[in-house]
Symmetry: C2
Subunit: 151 residues, 2 copies
Amino acid sequence: MGHDQQPIWRRAATHTLHTSLILKASLEERLHESTGLLLADNEALLNLAATGSLLRMSEIAHRLVLSRGGTTKVIDRIEEMGLVERHPDPEDRRATVVVITSAGRDAMAAARKVIDATLEEMWAAHISTEEAELMVEVMDRVLKANRGELE
Amino acid sequence: MGHDQQPIWRRAATHTLHTSLILKASLEERLHESTGLLLADNEALLNLAATGSLLRMSEIAHRLVLSRGGTTKVIDRIEEMGLVERHPDPEDRRATVVVITSAGRDAMAAARKVIDATLEEMWAAHISTEEAELMVEVMDRVLKANRGELE
DNA sequence: CTAGATTACTTTCTCAGTAAACTATATACC
DNA sequence: GGTATATAGTTTACTGAGAAAGTAATCTAG
């Protein structure tokens, strides 16, 4: 019943975790349904586009906070769809560089539309600009403080 | 590099999602390592303890935002550990009620310690009381607005 | 009172992701 | 230069969770 007064920070954490769970699931579902992409696929494309279109596998793994094996599968998946290409790195023959294709850029744009529409409906519509600014600040602080927790 | 000015609400969403991802992974890892429980197992115990120690499978599924099949497995797991017991519901023989055992209450207390320690270190230490209060309010608003997104 | 629909739970199949073993290349030390 | 160690990526075995089919019990209509 309502008689357990929880510390405010625990309530903040559980509410945030729970909201993220629901939001992420909805994003994943709508994105997958309309583009065939998973959120991780889209993240990979976004990172590629934001960095001169070219990244090593290990750098992608790091940016997506994903294991190396998991990254192999993400790239397998979107390479199969023609959204990226793998090329050997001439400077280090152990490495593979991944390059986004123009189909990849198109897919990314389509994904952005779906994600933004969902985010506006489920998230932005209920949060003021000031609140959003504070959330960015706070989340950024927490993130920086825990950098290295998950490498 | 930094020339893509994103809308603040998208940045708020991605930061929140990313922070939640890291926090949840750390919680899961530390909890599992020190008690053998998964977060979902702990959630099930918490819900049982908070409601007279007794719930139906379907009610647990609903509270954990988990599929029915997933719930069967959560309860299988913690029943195996002796933390809960399944009993037939005398009022409806299709149903199963789950009851927390005293070992379950002990496990719950141990889990709370680990979780709170982690939360204090990774979360509470970097957020003020006012910020936490605002986060609860905002997350609650978003949650309520999207009630029913994921049933 | 009994045939069909619904509800509660479990089982099976599949999938995304991790961890550890494996292959190939690169670097360090002697 | 040659052996040991480290690094990049892939492969394999496993795990947690979802979806759909399966089983059993209950409810509803006629």
